[in-house]
C-alpha cells in the first residue's frame, strides 16, 4: 500500500502524505478497529449480567469491562513517562523527552475516562456521583498532578530546559502516585462505613474473558495512540529545531552586513 503518488490510488486506504501514520500503525489500527467491534459485542451482548447473590450487579458489571482496562492503561502511561524521564536524564536525547511528553497526554485522556467510568459505576453503588473512594480520590489527585506536568511544559520556552525540568517532574510525580494513594487509602479506612463498600463481583467465564479482552485492548489502544502521539511530538520538536541552520546563517549574516568595518 504505497502512497507515494497521491491521486494514483487515492482512497481511504491511502496514508495521508503528511500524517503520523505508518504501515505498522495502519495494520495495528485496522486490527484494533475490528477488535473493538468484537469487544463491544462480547461486553455488551454476549456476556451474561452479574446475577448471583443479594448484591448482584446485574448489567452494571459491564462498566467494569471498560473501567478497569482504562485505569490500567492510565497507570501504564504514567509508568512509561517515568521510565522515559529517567532515560532522558541519563541519555539526554530528545526522543525520550518526546516519549515522556506524549505518554502524559495520552495518560491524561485515559485518566479522564477512568474518573468518568468510576463515577458512573459509583453512582449505582453509592447513589452519588462522587464518593471519597480511595482509588477514585487518588486518581483525581494524580490527574491534577499530570495536568501540572503539561502546564510546566507549556511554560518553559527553551527546549533543553523544558526537557530537563519535565523529566525531573515526571519522575517525582510518579513517586508521588503511591504516596497519595496509600495516604488516601488509610484516611478512608478510618472513616469507612458500611454503606460505602466497593462492590467486587465474582467474575468468571465469559465475564472474565470480557475483562481480560478489555485490558489487552486498552493496552493496545494505548500503544497505537502512542505511535501517533509520539510522532506528532517528534515532528513538533523537529520543526522547532529545524530553524537552527537557518538561524545560524542569519546570525552570521549580521556579521557580513556589518563586515565593512574590517
Amino acid at each position: 500500500m504505497t502512497s507515494s503518488t497521491p491521486g494514483q490510488r487515492a482512497g481511504r486506504f491511502d496514508m495521508h502524505p503528511d500524517g503520523t501514520a505508518s504501515h505498522g500503525s495502519r495494520v495495528l489500527g485496522s486490527i484494533l478497529l475490528i477488535a473493538v467491534a468484537i469487544f463491544l459485542i462480547v461486553a455488551l451482548v454476549a456476556s451474561p449480567p452479574d446475577g448471583a447473590g443479594a448484591d448482584a450487579m446485574g448489567d452494571m458489571v459491564r462498566i467494569m469491562y471498560v473501567h478497569v482496562p482504562v485505569a490500567i492503561a492510565c497507570y501504564t502511561a504514567f509508568m512509561v513517562t517515568a521510565f522515559a524521564s529517567a532515560m532522558y536524564l541519563w541519555k539526554r536525547t530528545e526522543g525520550w523527552d518526546c516519549l515522556a511528553a506524549a505518554s502524559v497526554e495520552v495518560g491524561i485522556v485515559f485518566t479522564v475516562l477512568t474518573l468518568a467510568t468510576g463515577s458512573i459505576w459509583g453512582h449505582t453503588a453509592w447513589g452519588t456521583w462522587w464518593e471519597w473512594d480511595p482509588r477514585l480520590t487518588s486518581t483525581a489527585l494524580m490527574f491534577v498532578m499530570y495536568l501540572g506536568y503539561l502546564a510546566l511544559r507549556r511554560a518553559v520556552v527553551d527546549p533543553q530546559s523544558r526537557a530537563k525540568q519535565a523529566a525531573v517532574l515526571g519522575l517525582i510525580s510518579f513517586i508521588n502516585v503511591p504516596i497519595v494513594h496509600y495516604s488516601v487509602d488509610w484516611w478512608r479506612s478510618l472513616h469507612q462505613t458500611a454503606t460505602i463498600g466497593r462492590l467486587d463481583p465474582t467474575i468468571d467465564g465469559l465475564k472474565l474473558f470480557a475483562l481480560l479482552f478489555g485490558m489487552v485492548l486498552a493496552l493496545l489502544l494505548y500503544a497505537w495512540l502512542m505511535l501517533h502521539r509520539f510522532r506528532l511530538q517528534w515532528v513538533e520538536t523537529q520543526v522547532e529545531a529545524k530553524g537552527l541552520d537557518t538561524a545560524l546563517a542569519e546570525r552570521r549574516a549580521e556579521a557580513v552586513a556589518d563586515g565593512g568595518v574590517r
Binding site: 501540572g148 502546564a151 510546566l152 511554560a155 518553559v156 525540568q165 517525582i172 495516604s183
Partner: protein
Amino acid sequence: MTNTTLRSVISDARLVAGKDLRLEWRSRVTLNQLLPFALLVLVLFAFALDPDRSVLKDATPGLFWLAVLFSTLLAIQRAFAVETVDGIIDALRISGLDPAGIFLGKAAGIALHLLVVEAALLVGVTVMYGASPSGLLLVVATSIAATAGLAAAGAVYGVLAAGLRVRDTLLPILWLPVVAPLLIGATQAFGSAYEKSSGAGWRWCGLLGAFAVLYTAIGFVAFEPLLEES
C-alpha cells in the same frame, strides 16, 4: 570524602538559611504579612462555616492545616522571589555553594518561618475556636514533622517554578496535590491530639516524618538540575 562533602553541605545550608533569616529580619515580610494572612484565614473560615463554635472546634485540625498550607505557598513564593531578581540565580550557580546545601538552607528557612506561623495559629485556634489540645507532645511532634515535609517539598517545587513567568499560578497546581498526603496526615494526627486518643495519631505522625525524609532525599538529588534550568 562523603563526610567532608556532607559537612560542606551542612555549612552551606547554614550559610543560606542564616542569610534568609537575616533577610527576614531586615524586611519583616513574614512578621508583617505572613502572620496576619494566616490569622485572617482563620477568621475567614469562621465566616464561611458558622459562628457556632462547635463546628469550628470540630473542624479545627483541618482548618489549622489548611491555613498552614496557604501560608506555606506564600512562604515558598517569597523564599524564591528573593533569589530570582537581579541576577542572583546566576550568582548562586557560580557561587561555589553546594546545590544540596542551598536546598537544605532554603528548606530550613521556610520551615522556621512556618513554625512561627504555626505557633501563632495554635494560639489563634485556641482563642478563636476554643479548641485546646490534650496531647501537646503529639501536636508539637506533628507540627515539626509536617513542617519539615512541607518545606522540603516546597523548596523542590519552588525552585522548579522559580524562573518561570507563570510561577505564581503554576506553583499551587504542582505543589498542592503533592502535599495532599501531608494535609491528611497532619489533620488526622491533630484530630487524635485534640480528642485525647493519640494512638493512631502517632502513626500518622510517623507517616509525616517518612514523607519529610523522602522529600529531603528528593531535594538532595533534584535541586541541582532544577537550579541549573530555572
